[in-house]
C-alpha cells in the first residue's frame, strides 16, 4: 500500500509542477527575448539590458554568453531572437540564409601585447606578426623586428607566440590583419574564428581572453593578441602594447582617437547590409585591428509583437544605448552617425 501511495503523491506533485511551469509564460504580461553569443558583447548586453528593463518592464531579455558561432547558429535556427557575434556572416552563409541581418551595435578593437620587460611600445607590422605565428621569425632580435625598431635593444631570446585555442572573434580580426597585410598568410592560413595554426614548437594555445592574459603574464618573451575589453587586466600585469603599422604606413597605438579614425574611414564605405571588415582600414591615423560587433537577427519573426520588441530594443542599443556611459566600461566605441542610420534601416526590416 505504501509504495502506490508514494507513487501517486509523486505523480500528483509532478503534475502540479508541470502545470505551474506551463502556466508561468502564459501569466507573464510581456514578451521574453533571448540573446546569446559573443563573450565580448556579453558584458555590454548585461549593462544595456539592466537599464532597458527598468524603463521597459513589459519585455524581459535573457542574456547568455556562449560564443559567436553559437550565436550565429542559434539565431539562424530561431532558438534565440538575438545572436551576438564578433564576426559578420560569410558570403556563403548569407547565400544560404538570406533572411539573416548583420547589425553593428558597437566598435571593438584588439591590442597586440608582449612580455618584454623594459620595452613599452614595440613597433610591429602584419608581415612580422605573420612570420612569428608561422614560425619563420623565431627570435626577438630577428633583423625584421630590429629594422622596424631602430634604437631599441632587442633580447636574444626565442619568441613564444600565444594564440587562442577556442573559436574567437579575436582570432578572426587578428588573422584578418595578417591576411590583409601579408600575402603569404592570406594564401595559406586565410582568416576565420579558428585558424589551423602552423606548428611552432614553443607556441601556446590559451583558452579565452583571461587565459591569454595569464599565459602572457606567465611567459616572458611571449606575444599575444588580446581584446581591448581586457586592457585593464593587461595594464595591471604590466605587459607591453605594440604600435602597429597601418595601411597608410604609420605606427599607431589603440587609443580612442585611432580607433575612431578607423571607424570614420570605413563609415562611408559601409554597405547597406553592413558586412564589412574594418581591419587594416585606410586613414593616416587609423588603428589597423578594429571591428564592428554584430547582432545577428532574422528578418521574419514568429509574431508581430516579438518583432516589435526586438526592433525597439535594438534601436535603443544603437541610439540611446550607444553612449560612453555604457560603452566605456568595456572599452567599446560608439558607432559613427552614418552607421547608426544604416543599422536603424536594417532593424526596421525585422517583421
Amino acid at each position: 500500500m505504501k509504495l502506490p501511495t508514494l507513487l501517486r503523491t509523486g505523480a500528483a506533485a509532478l503534475a502540479l509542477a508541470t502545470a505551474a511551469g506551463l502556466a508561468t509564460p502564459a501569466h507573464a504580461a510581456g514578451i521574453s527575448l533571448v540573446e546569446t553569443g559573443s563573450s565580448l558583447l556579453y558584458p555590454l548586453f548585461n549593462l544595456w539590458v539592466a537599464s532597458y528593463s527598468t524603463a521597459h518592464p513589459d519585455v524581459s531579455i535573457t542574456t547568455t554568453s556562449t560564443g559567436s558561432g553559437a550565436g550565429i547558429s542559434q539565431s539562424i535556427q530561431g532558438l534565440v531572437q538575438i545572436g551576438a557575434s564578433d564576426a559578420y556572416l560569410s558570403d556563403a552563409m548569407v547565400k544560404a540564409h538570406p533572411e539573416m541581418l548583420n547589425i553593428p551595435l558597437g566598435i571593438s578593437s584588439q591590442a597586440i601585447n608582449y612580455n618584454l620587460p623594459g620595452i613599452t611600445h614595440l613597433h610591429l607590422t602584419g608581415p612580422i606578426l605573420a612570420g612569428i605565428y608561422e614560425g619563420k621569425i623565431t627570435n626577438w632580435n630577428d633583423p625584421a623586428i630590429a629594422a622596424a625598431n631602430p634604437g631599441v635593444t632587442l633580447p636574444n631570446h626565442v619568441i613564444i607566440p600565444i594564440h587562442r585555442i577556442d573559436g574567437s572573434g579575436d582570432t578572426f580580426i587578428f588573422s584578418q590583419y595578417l591576411a590583409f597585410s601579408d600575402a603569404g598568410w592570406s594564401s595559406t592560413e586565410h582568416y576565420g574564428t579558428s585558424i589551423s595554426w602552423p606548428a611552432v614548437a614553443g607556441g601556446i594555445g590559451a583558452n579565452g581572453n583571461p587565459g591569454m592574459v595569464t599565459a602572457l603574464k606567465n611567459n616572458p618573451y611571449g606575444i599575444a593578441y588580446i581584446g581591448i575589453s581586457f586592457a585593464d587586466q593587461v595594464k595591471a600585469a604590466k605587459l607591453g602594447q605594440a604600435e602597429l603599422l597601418n595601411k597608410a604606413g604609420n605606427y599607431v597605438l589603440p587609443t580612442p582617437e585611432t580607433i575612431s579614425a578607423a571607424a570614420a574611414s570605413v563609415a562611408s564605405t559601409t554597405p547597406a547590409d553592413e558586412r564589412i571588415s574594418m581591419v587594416f582600414a585606410p586613414g593616416a591615423n587609423a588603428y589597423p585591428i578594429v571591428n564592428y560587433e554584430y547582432a545577428i537577427v532574422k528578418t521574419s519573426q514568429p509574431d508581430a509583437a516579438t518583432a516589435k520588441a526586438i526592433r525597439k530594443f535594438l534601436s535603443w542599443c544603437v541610439q540611446g544605448g550607444n553612449v560612453p556611459a555604457y560603452l566605456d566600461k568595456v572599452h567599446f566605441m560608439a558607432l559613427p552617425a552614418a552607421v547608426k542610420t544604416l543599422s536603424v534601416t536594417q532593424i526596421d526590416k525585422i517583421k
Binding site: 558561432g69 585555442i165 577556442d166 574564428t193 579558428s194 606548428a199 601556446i204 594555445g205 595569464t214 606567465n218
Partner: protein, 321 residues
Amino acid sequence: MTLRPFRLLVLCISLMIPAALCAVVLFLAGYAGQAISFNGLHFLWDVNWNLGDLYGDPVTVNGITIPPGAEYGVLAFIAGTLASSGLAIFIAVPLSVGAAIFLAEAVPVLENHARDRLSWLPPIRPALAMLVELVAVVPSVVFGLWGIAVLVPFLGHYISPTGNGYGLLAAAIVLALMITPIIASTLYDALLQVPKENRESAFALGSTHFEVVTKAMMPMVRSTLAGGIVLALGRALGETMAVLMVSGGGLNMLPTSLFSPISTIASFIVSQLDSAESDPTSMSVKALAEIAFVLFIITLAVNVAAKLLSSGALNVRSRKA
C-alpha cells in the same frame, strides 16, 4: 498473466538507458557519415587539421561540399589523448598504490585504552579514506584553475627548458591528480576485503610487514587494481576542461617532448565547436562528430577491458571462499 503496472514502468525506465546510448551512437555515426566517407581511413593517420577558409566560397570535392582548404586529420589528437592519459596513469599508479596501502595497513589504529581517552577524535582511517574520495568529486575545472595558476608557472620556472610550462606534462599531472583517488579508493576497498587469515598467517610465518603487503595481499587484489586503473584511464581519456586550460593546444604537430603543446580529442572538440558552427557547409561539425566517434570507440574499448578485468577480480574473491 496479470498486468503489473509497476513492473512495466520499471522496465520502461530501465530500457531508456540503453536506448539513449544506442541513440547517441546512431546519431554520431549517422551525422558523421558524410565526413567519414569524405575523409576515408587516412583521417586516422593524418596529422594536419584545418577547418578551411570558412569565409571563402565552398568548393565541391568528390561530390561533397567543403570549405576551401579543409583537411581533417586526427592523429595529433589521438596521440595527445593517449600520451597525456598514459603519462597520467604512470604518475598516478605509484601514488594511489602508496595511498591505498597506507590507509589499509599503515594508519595507526588506537589501542583500547588510548581509544577511551581520545574518544573525541574522529576515527583516523575512515576520515582519511573519505578525504581521498573527496578529491574524486572536485570538479575538473578546479583542477584546471590550479593547473593554470600554480602548476604551469612552477613547471615554467623550474623544470621546462624553454620557460614554457604549458603542454603534455602539465596536462598529465593535472589528469594524474584527478584519477589518483579513483584508483586509490578502489584498491583500498579491495585491500580491506583480503581475508584476515591470509594476512595473519603470513605474519605467523615470520614475514615482515612489507612482505605481508607485497606477497600476501597485493597478489590477491592485482586484478582489482588493473580494473581501477582502466576505469581511471576512461576518466582521463574523456577529460575536457582541465586539459584544455593547461595543454597548450598543439595543432598540426605530434608531441616530441614533455613540454610539447598537445590537444586531446575531448578538449579539441570543445575548442573547435564554436567556429565549426559558422561553417556554411556544416562539414566542420560533421568532422568533429567523427572525432567524437573515435573517442567513443577508444573509451568503449577501455570500459570493456575494465569489465573483463573486474570480473577477473571477482574470480579471485570467490576462490578464497
